[in-house]
Symmetry: C2
Subunit: 325 residues, 2 copies
């Protein structure tokens, strides 16, 4: 695979057609128009072989799409709309053109599904395969939801279900032969960024703080609270779990709630909201068709605490989440 | 080194103070204001260990600054002004905190020198060290200079001097013990993006096409011409070479002109311009204090040809440029 050949292939595949893309992939830089008065939102993320993915357990196409979804999830977590992507790929000179083609197909799948445009790319030789994505989006400045706005007494909400991706990773990693676990595996390999919900929550001023759950509920909830000396109380019984999640984790001898709390890579939205916004949050759930579950509340206590159905505190060793798969 | 510790360190170091940075490093995404009617310019580039750099031959601080300079050079080559950076770093978990500190110091040096702001970052474990930089800039859409505007008969100009970086790399790679070569080594390790010249050339409408010389004069000149079936004739005698370049390359038994033509990583600006803009190009050189040399002209011939002082054509095998250092 020659670098020039690969770049030409990519430039052809990702030729921009939108009028806002004044210059797309293939020049020194992309030149882009933003809407009037929109703020630019920018985020960068990398998936690294052996750390965030293994080439043995997923196709290049799945990997390409996942890289897109992970990158734009960060844009969605600000309440913003992702518009553009720049992709830097590192791969061995012995990796085949089919690998790059598969990866590109996955990136294209993601771009098409979420109506975004790849406007810049870069290809380097590297002994470790990595995919870096920089996502650019737009938001009206007033609608931006930061990580830092939570207040004591706020409700804590999470979209969708938790732990599916972590369970899928367990199934992928082991030779468990568990039947019925395919849905969990695909939640891990093909996460769905909650863009529409994030935008609605932001536009309606519902969230006081928001983040996407990538490192696991525990660690991401800490990011929303600990900086201001706040904490949280979460009821395990209120955690949204998929049908079959408890029984399949049990068959894998996994502590299901520990997985749901610390597993990571859910790419659900976690947000805080004052109590008077409850009806508005429920309406967003109804309109978007995505479950939004109230799982606890922000406290002044400085710690994240979990309680079981008997209202006993449950302690998790959540320090060691690894993305390894 | 814990990832959280390192991220906190980076977020503290790169806290934004500009009012246009509504949210800087440390949230899911950065939120940025652009000037009214400015277009966004975006580019991404990666330096990979063993391909673009070796940790034995340069300090982390030099590497950090080089990553900044290489990234913003692509913005300058559009005639745009770089404003923001997002950095994704991959390093081994055994790499020391000093390595990250040194690298950050270099990034900070670059940001301060070129008045740009690091607004996003990401740290991953990786067996191969890499530094990805996405640079964001602004340009008035009318002033953008693309790679694609060259016309037959246009003059070809290059800023500064050619080949210094390639010679520096030769000196770095060998155990030559060549005295007086330090300046060439620092041209390789600490390139200077030609931002001011790029902006002036763009604002005055001088360039019909422009690129920064990263892969070497030959290959980058091809990018300005070959897509439209154009070619170029370049006079070796007109190539701008530093004092001492010919003699030191000779002492290293290198073909000096081959180095200057194919060496790469010059990060000078290469642009084409119609003959009636000659006085304007000279004025930019005078105002900026940077040499701008006319080295040849665009032809309809579809090939890049080099001629020596006796007007004999000289052939170079320029296919194999490697960034390896």
């Amino acid at each position: 695979m020659g670098e020039e050949d690969a770049l030409r292939f990519l430039a052809d595949r990702f030729k921009a057609t939108q009028k806002e893309v004044l210059t797309g992939i293939g020049d020194d830089s992309a030149v882009l128009e933003l809407r009037d008065k929109a703020c630019l939102v920018a985020s960068t993320d990398t998936l690294v072989e052996g750390v965030h993915f293994r080439l043995e357990t997923q196709t290049p196409r799945q990997l390409g799409k996942k890289a897109v979804c992970v990158a734009i999830s960060d844009i969605g977590a600000m309440g913003a709309v992702p518009r553009y992507l720049l992709c830097s790929l590192g791969c061995r000179s012995t990796d085949s053109m089919e690998f790059i083609e598969g990866l590109s197909q996955g990136v294209e799948d993601g771009c098409r599904e979420f109506e975004i445009c790849l406007v810049g790319g870069n290809l380097s030789e590297s002994q470790t395969v990595f995919i870096n994505m920089t996502a650019l989006g737009e938001v009206s400045g007033d609608n931006t939801v930061l990580r830092s706005g939570a207040a004591e007494g706020d409700d804590i909400y999470v979209t969708g279900t938790l732990g599916d991706s972590a369970l899928g990773l367990k199934i992928l990693s082991g030779d468990s032969g568990i039947g019925g676990g395919e849905g969990f595996v695909s939640r891990h390999l093909e996460p769905t960024p909650r863009l529409a919900v994030g935008r609605m929550v932001a536009e309606r001023g519902i969230a006081s703080s928001m983040i996407d759950v990538s490192d696991g509920l525990f660690r991401d909830l800490e990011k929303l609270t600990s900086e201001h000396g706040l904490g949280a109380e979460v009821s395990l019984a209120d955690l949204p779990l998929s049908p079959g999640f408890l029984s399949i984790s049990g068959r894998l001898s996994e502590d299901a709630y520990r997985l749901a709390v610390s597993g990571g890579e859910d790419y659900e939205l976690l947000f805080t909201s004052s109590a008077e916004k409850r009806a508005a949050a429920e309406e967003v759930s109804r309109l978007s068709g995505i479950a939004i579950s109230k799982i606890g509340s922000v406290t002044g206590g400085g710690k994240i605490k979990f309680f079981d159905e008997g209202e006993e505190e449950v302690f998790y060793d959540t320090g060691g989440f690894e993305h390894f798969c």
